[in-house]
Symmetry: C2
């Protein structure tokens, strides 16, 4: 089984770091096969940022995503560019503080930016809110693994804020667990 | 033209971050097409860490390296595992504080760990010494681009040490510029 997960947003939201932390959580702390990749340059347009994380039971040949099982969008532009690659039964998670995904009914909407700013008082940690939500909604990675992985990748003085963001995301994600998540992840 | 560059070493040397900084330097600050990727999990063995950076004039389909134009090895194990993938006319750069590459004559040897520890007084910044050396030896990326990219990816309080490491690497690399670098990069 191969699960293709794409995180996308705008520059400065910590998308790439979130991809690495997700990949290391599943690969190093849960022993799964994981590949993680991103593009830069003219082909990666303008201010948009995206990273692909592929998790599999078997060694991974091609580390980029082609048909997404999970798409997490933290900006309108990133959503507009990437939504077309989501599988029909794929899981869509958006930052509803920023993204208006249109008329799709099966969208998992979470006000990530507001949670980071108001609940955690750390706007910079919106990426960790997103990771917590991914773990809570999909169960594709454990909260504990994300914590361990995160601690290895962030500056020590940001630990408390990032941990609070991760846990806040996990709790709100878990509250919606199951909604359109079963099809593509089982 | 497609240039495949692999950085490898052991966990904790900052290999992944170095790959991202190299990729962003070429992709964002020099407008080249760049893909950057890494694997985690059982397939990525033990304590070794590696990241692939592919730089091209055209959009990149496959973001991992198959036949290396440039291999930079910061641990013996990583060297042993990856040396076989270097092209015949490829460029090999090793941390001679740690790696004994055997009888190859055309090796660019730099005591990276010693430079980071003794010259810069910052052992943690051996990855930036390596990046500086890559820029100095190959010219595949500009020092200025690496600086800009690095500043976007490291904590502010580590700026001075990392900048000193980058420049120290660049100077020592430039001193050896040209040695076995022309074939694969032109």
């Amino acid at each position: 089984m191969r699960t293709e997960c794409r995180l996308c947003g705008s520059g400065g939201q910590g998308i790439i770091l979130a991809g690495i932390i997700l990949a290391e959580a599943a690969g190093i702390y849960e022993g799964k096969e994981v590949a993680q990749a991103q593009d830069y340059g003219p082909a990666a347009r303008g201010d948009s940022s995206k990273t692909d994380v592929v998790i599999s039971d078997e060694p991974i040949d091609y580390p980029k995503c082609s048909r997404l099982d999970v798409l997490v969008a933290l900006s309108q532009r990133a959503f507009d560019e990437n939504n077309r690659y989501l599988k029909e039964d794929g899981l869509l998670i958006v930052d509803s503080s920023i993204v208006t995904p249109g008329k799709e009914e099966d969208v998992n909407r979470f006000p990530m930016t507001e949670i980071a700013r108001d609940q955690v008082s750390s706007p910079m940690s919106v990426n960790m809110v997103a990771l917590g939500i991914i773990a809570g909604v999909t169960g594709m990675v454990k909260l504990k693994s994300l914590k361990q992985s995160m601690f290895g990748r962030i500056p020590a003085h940001t630990r408390n804020a990032n941990l609070a963001a991760l846990i806040a995301g996990f709790k709100i994600g878990k509250g919606k667990k199951g909604r359109r998540s079963a099809n593509c992840l089982k």
